[in-house]
């Protein structure tokens, strides 16, 4: 029997009637039209369907919507702000970190979670954070470089924000 539930996705509320055995991946893509989340192995072995639950990366192919009604869900569609791409999206595009692009949404969400928790990760920490996302074009080096470049941009932006405030101090 379908159950009417509310999901909070990218800051918006969606009412959906779901069957208990539908996964979050299926509901996102097939019921809500949010096809940015990619459908890969469906068994937890690739990371293409990664989304954030309250900021934490999990696999939407192994998540039941009924269990995440209390969570804030972030998908790739929720990364841009006011029409501006997230710095990670910019650096992925500029540095060629996306080849075929299929793993990219999952990579980006894992990287967003990493940079929120650790704004200056080492190369090893980036590898660890992305170790659940497979890229079969084997473009990992450019992906790591893009995460490093985005970390620098975010840190420069934060300093830029701090500067005017600092100037106000006596």
């Amino acid at each position: 029997m379908r159950e009417l539930i509310t999901l909070r996705i990218n800051g918006e509320r969606y009412e959906v009637a779901v069957l208990p055995h539908r996964t979050l991946l299926e509901v996102l893509r097939e019921d809500l039209g949010l096809t940015g989340t990619k459908h890969g192995c469906e068994l937890g072995e690739c990371g293409a369907c990664t989304v954030l639950l309250d900021g934490v990366p999990v696999l939407s192919c192994l998540t039941l919507p009924l269990e995440v009604q209390d969570c804030e869900i972030t998908t790739i569609e929720g990364l841009e702000e006011q029409g501006r791409l997230h710095p990670l999206q910019e650096t992925f595009a500029e540095l060629g970190a996306a080849q075929c692009g299929y793993c990219t949404p999952g990579m980006l969400l894992s990287a967003v979670a990493l940079l929120r928790q650790n704004p200056h990760p080492t190369r090893e920490e980036i590898k660890q954070a992305l170790s659940g996302n497979l890229c079969r074009c084997t473009g990992y080096t450019k992906i790591y470089e893009a995460v490093e470049a985005a970390a620098e941009r975010l840190s420069a932006a934060r300093q830029g924000e701090r500067q005017p405030n600092a100037a106000l101090q006596p």
């Binding site: 208990p20 055995h21 999990v58 269990e67 894992s110 659940g132 497979l134």
Partner: protein, 335 residues
């Protein structure tokens, strides 16, 4: 497309409500915590429960508390990420932090729980396949078939215990508490396991694994080494958990060596442990102990890499684990 088979989903709010639901629904119901093992298995039709009882909301399954001198209680619903990051576990039960951090990938550790890892279904190359694949080969005795495809003459199933945390918890001499409407029982974790790929756990269908108790850690050092093809994703094809307690004069006071992924249950290397007790850990002795421990590993051709390789690596991994602990002690001076 690999879709989940239909089921009813129940979301109890307390542990007693959950045990009551499991008892009422009977064996057609299964508990689900993180879902990282059960849901893929359901997609492959290895399990087709009519009812899932969600354990996510149960506060009784949460929390990590205690100290190295009295021991530590871990709620079975804690995620592998929270266990691998917990300061108390990292400092005093490092083997457990290492094993939790070695499970699969960050995404699965963020969802998967320690209770679920302990009760991971046993694995086999002929079993962890889609329904289509298993149908084409005639199924195996663990699900839908009648023979073991690894050892067709064998009366039993040889699916492998593949949980990283299980051998560690055996080496740390943990106890576990199981709760049902019939009551509760606290048992040494060894008593949770059967040497049977088809029925690997003594847990009854109506029981919920509530918590894990680690004994006091004072004086103990521990580590865990994992063999697998890739640095993430893969299940262990060998896990080596070692815990040592040294005497003030440097002799080994007590030693626990447990092997994972070499049988249908975590295997204790009793002979090797006995050989270490009361001895000075000389390189010759450690090599002898590693060889003795490796005799307990009899891999079959139902996991990744070749049997020969897995067999050859066993004494090497045991020796490395022993060396790590002995050197750490000597490096940091007597404690």
């Amino acid at each position: 497309m690999l879709r989940l088979p239909p089921f009813r989903y129940l979301a109890p709010r307390t542990l007693s409500e959950a045990t009551r639901l499991l008892a009422e629904e009977g064996p057609q119901a299964m508990p689900v915590a993180g879902g990282t093992d059960l849901l893929p298995n359901m997609k492959r039709r290895q399990f087709t429960p009519a009812v899932l009882v969600g354990l996510r909301r149960l506060r009784e399954l949460k929390g990590i508390s205690g100290s190295p001198d009295v021991g530590v209680r871990i709620g079975a619903g804690e995620t592998l990420t929270s266990i691998s990051n917990h300061p108390l576990i990292r400092a005093h039960y490092p083997a457990l932090a290492l094993a939790a951090a070695a499970v699969s990938t960050p995404q699965l550790r963020n969802a998967g729980t320690i209770g679920g890892n302990i009760l991971l279904d046993t694995r086999c190359n002929y079993y962890n396949q889609t329904e289509f694949w298993r149908h084409s080969i005639g199924y195996c005795m663990k699900r839908d078939g009648s023979i073991c495809l690894v050892a067709p003459g064998s009366p039993r199933c040889w699916a492998i215990s593949s949980a990283d945390t299980a051998p560690v918890l055996v080496a740390l001499q943990a106890r576990v508490r199981l709760v049902s409407v019939r009551g509760e029982r606290e048992i040494p974790i060894q008593e949770l396991f059967y040497d049977d790929g088809m029925r690997p756990y003594t847990r009854e269908a109506d029981e919920i694994l509530q918590e894990i108790w680690l004994p006091p850690a004072l004086g103990w050092r521990s580590t865990y080494l994992k063999l697998r093809r890739r640095g993430s994703f893969d299940f262990p094809i060998l896990g080596v958990a070692v815990a040592l307690r040294r005497e003030p004069d440097g002799r080994i006071g007590d030693a626990r060596i447990t092997l994972g992924a070499v049988a249908s249950h975590p295997v204790e290397a009793e002979e090797a442990m006995a050989r270490l007790r009361g001895q000075q850990p000389t390189p010759t002795l450690l090599q002898e102990v590693a060889t003795l421990a490796a005799k307990r590993a009899r891999p079959l051709d139902n996991a990744d890499l070749t049997i020969t390789y897995r067999k050859q690596l066993t004494p090497i991994y045991v020796r490395r684990a022993l060396d790590l602990l002995v050197e750490a002690e000597q490096g940091s001076g007597a404690e």
